[in-house]
């Protein structure tokens, strides 16, 4: 009974989705975005939407991201730490990390700082820097990296970044302040936020995983 109901529900969903493939709903005209992008000081249509006309959406999205990371932190903290190192150290990874890490970090900063002109932006930059941290964690061991990053200062830095981002965003719209500089600041702050979030996920999932 339950299974049949499930399959009927899925078939209905598939039917509704396939309905969109018919020619009843032709794809909408692309509204001219070049004017708007120029007004916000961007050369990238997506950046002018994400950090311009839909700025509040992005700010609240970053807030949701930070809240989810707080949830991860406080759900996994009571589970206790693993004693033995999670990832064994390997010489090859350590040597390659020395070569690759500067390139990864410079690329992440470049993407965040030029995200309003070309492809890029704060979110991909944060993801790239986070995978750089993953590489470093595999080379050095999670606990050592956590000590070297000063875990305690990352939490205030994350909340401070969120606060600055929200205040800047909420002030920029009523004051009607626009321009490329603002977009660069937004992108860099979002990049820092996403990097710290990726580090929280990496660290807590690797070191606090219960007894089973």
């Amino acid at each position: 009974m339950k299974r049949a109901l499930t399959i009927a529900l899925l078939a209905t969903l598939l039917g509704i989705l396939l309905f969109g493939l018919t020619d009843l709903f032709p794809p909408a005209e692309v509204r001219p975005w070049a004017e708007m992008a120029r007004a916000y000081g961007a050369g990238n249509g997506v950046a002018s939407i994400v950090l311009g006309s839909r700025l509040y959406d992005t700010l609240l999205e970053v807030l949701v991201f930070a809240l989810a990371m707080v949830g991860v932190r406080y759900t996994l903290k009571p589970l206790g730490k693993w004693r033995e190192p999670v990832v064994p150290e390997r010489g090859v990874v350590r040597e390659m990390a020395d070569v690759l890490l500067p390139v990864i970090i410079v690329f992440a900063v470049y993407l965040a700082a030029s995200g309003h002109l070309g492809p890029g932006g704060g979110f991909p930059a944060g993801a790239i820097a986070g995978s750089g941290l993953l590489l470093l964690a595999m080379a050095k061991g999670i606990e050592r990296l956590s000590r070297e990053l000063h875990e305690g200062t990352l939490e205030p830095l994350e909340y401070g970044t969120i606060a600055v981002l929200l205040v800047l965003g909420c002030l920029s719209i009523p004051l009607n302040h626009r321009g490329s500089g603002l977009l660069v600041v937004f992108n860099l702050l979002i990049g820092i936020e996403v990097t710290i979030g990726a580090w929280v996920v990496l660290h807590y999932f690797a070191s606090h995983r219960g007894e089973i």
Partner: protein
């Protein structure tokens, strides 16, 4: 043509993901299904922004070239980040549930939770 292929692929992935979400019993399988469904939604949105012969929505191309729709692409950016955050949070909850009830089957977790409520 590419847009049609993308749309069909996205719909298929959403269908597959929801199937796993509804029919599988293990928590991790359910979250994997949700993950696949979210990927399908992303593919669907990207296919929606495609136009024949269009260039990416960046300035620097000659005037008058048709460009892809930037709005669905901005939505995809939001979807990816929120998806990452919510997946991490739900996996953390799955770990904590497994730690407490020593199983990942939803039926057994429900039974154990009800037993605990009665006590």
């Amino acid at each position: 043509m590419a847009a049609q292929i993308g749309t069909v692929l996205g719909i298929g992935l959403v269908f597959l993901g929801f199937g796993a979400l509804l029919l599988r019993r293990s928590l991790i399988w359910k979250l994997l299904g949700l993950n696949v469904a979210s990927g399908g939604a992303i593919v669907f949105l990207v296919a929606l922004s495609h136009r024949p012969g269009a260039v990416p929505p960046l300035s620097g191309y000659p005037e008058g070239t048709p460009s892809a729709d930037p709005l669905p692409q901005a939505l995809v950016l939001t979807a990816i980040v929120i998806h990452f955050a919510t997946l991490a949070l739900s996996l953390a909850y799955a770990i904590s549930l497994t730690e407490r009830f020593h199983t990942q089957e939803t039926g057994r977790i429900e039974a154990a939770a009800e037993e605990e409520m009665e006590r």
